[in-house]
């Protein structure tokens, strides 16, 4: 027996000792996922409702949950346009009968709502279950997802006010989805033989050899939107042009303020911009409001820790317990000093 096969044999014995179920085709590389690991990961719900956990939830239960967790972004009736496009609207009783959203055929909808677009109910269940609420995804129990979805369907007048949605009747409700017949798979995004989105054919004769500039911005308008070089992202090949004299100038940018990193790491930038309102107010707006308020620092530290709402509109700020006391204090100090970027 050669030295090599002896080693191989020893390897097999070790693998066998480590676990009888181990896949021997890649010895020493990882291990098979345990059934409970697979279960935690495998949460998708398919259009035929395979993977849907049993449970039920009523419209009334959904209202309570909706007011507590969904209203801040989606509005009480799923109508809000403030943060995301509306969830509800644009569908009619006729659409529920035919399964095609008439507004698409007539092309008279100013905006597309979720219920106008989505053909499969499983997608809504799955998405709410895995991604909602925004600040605490996967925190809803299956029954809660059923309840929230029942309320959403009620807002779209797909189910009545006294409806209870469950794994038993969800397939019946699927037959009332307004856009259930509106989905096509006969295109290149789905089928390789389908018609592609774009089609490019190499030029074979009489091809242009030179690029001609079709239009350009006149000089006086070049800085209409500030210095484009400062605004474009710095990755990739394309850079914005220097459109205002003296600004930026090509000198190396000064190092960013240490609080900038801390701010991004702590997740603040998900909802707050430095100078622009996103979900929450901008840092500079906060600094402006509390400019002359001596107690602002400690007050704001408390607000960040415990969360709050109402001061800057309806969107609620969730409690930020994961940020350490020292970091919170440093961030508030930076914000109140006007959030210098470097």
């Amino acid at each position: 027996m050669s030295r090599f096969s002896e080693l191989l044999l020893a390897g097999c014995l070790i693998a066998a000792a480590a676990g009888a179920s181990a896949d021997s085709s890649f010895p020493g590389v990882g291990r098979p996922a345990t059934p409970s690991e697979v279960k935690a990961w495998d949460i998708d719900v398919r259009p035929d409702f395979k993977g849907l956990p049993p449970g039920k939830g009523s419209v009334d239960q959904g209202i309570e949950l909706w007011e507590a967790k969904c209203t801040a972004c989606h509005g009480s009736f799923g109508e809000s346009n403030e943060v995301f496009t509306p969830l509800v609207g644009g569908t009619t009783k006729e659409d529920i009968e035919t399964g095609r959203v008439g507004a698409y055929i007539r092309q008279d909808a100013p905006q597309r709502s979720t219920l106008m677009k989505v053909p499969t109910l499983s997608t809504l269940w799955d998405y709410i279950n895995r991604a909602m609420p925004w600040n605490a995804p996967k925190s809803l129990s299956p029954d809660e997802v059923y309840a929230v979805l029942a309320y959403l369907l009620h807002l779209g007048e797909i189910v009545p006010a006294d409806f209870t949605l469950s794994d038993k009747n969800i397939a019946e409700v699927q037959k009332r989805m307004p856009n259930r017949n509106g989905m096509t798979t006969k295109h290149g995004m789905w089928d390789i033989k389908g018609k592609p989105d774009v089609k490019n054919v190499a030029c074979m004769k009489n091809c242009k050899t030179q690029i001609t500039m079709g239009s350009s911005l006149p000089d006086y308008a070049r800085d209409a939107h500030g210095n484009l070089a400062d605004q474009n992202r710095v990755i990739g090949a394309v850079r914005g042009q220097q459109t205002s004299e003296g600004a930026g100038g090509g000198a190396a940018a000064p190092a960013p303020h240490p609080a900038m990193d801390l701010m991004k790491k702590s997740g603040c930038s998900g909802c707050h911009g430095i100078a622009s309102k996103i979900l929450g107010p901008s840092f500079r707006d906060i600094a402006k409001r509390y400019k002359d308020d001596k107690g602002a620092e400690s007050q704001l530290i408390g607000r960040v820790k415990a969360g709050g709402s109402g001061t800057w509109g309806d969107a609620a700020m969730p409690p930020q317990a994961h940020v350490s006391d020292a970091d919170t204090a440093a961030l508030i100090k930076w914000i109140l000093s006007g959030s210098p970027e470097n």
């Binding site: 007011e67 009480s76 009736f77 109508e79």
Partner: protein, 103 residues
């Protein structure tokens, strides 16, 4: 055409917040259809909200208000179980009233 309003009223003990989503075309009377003819104006002109029969909000709506308007307001007082009723009248004389119990 004009479906029921969706109304939500919630009291925090001292004041009640009312949210209303109306369902109405709110035609301005300025829009033209495909053949170039004016689409006649059809919009809500008056809106009244009452709390247990007492008027808490009276508003005049015009063509500048959007389709399916959303309205939110607060009034002092109101307790759980009270009734909030909202009615509108449009320029064609159509009326609609919907009522909700304060939560």
């Amino acid at each position: 055409m004009a479906g029921p309003m969706r109304i939500r009223a919630a009291s925090n003990g001292t004041e009640t917040e009312v949210k209303i989503l109306m369902s109405h075309d709110m035609e301005t009377g300025q829009r033209k259809d495909a053949s170039g003819a004016l689409v006649p104006a059809h919009h809500i002109t008056e809106l009244t909200a009452t709390h247990n029969g007492r008027v808490v909000l009276a508003a005049q709506f015009g063509p500048a208000v959007s389709k399916n308007p959303y309205l939110q307001f607060k009034f002092a007082g109101g307790a759980k179980g009270d009734k909030v009723s909202v009615s509108w009248v449009d320029n064609k004389g159509d009326k609609r009233t919907d009522e909700v119990v304060v939560a």
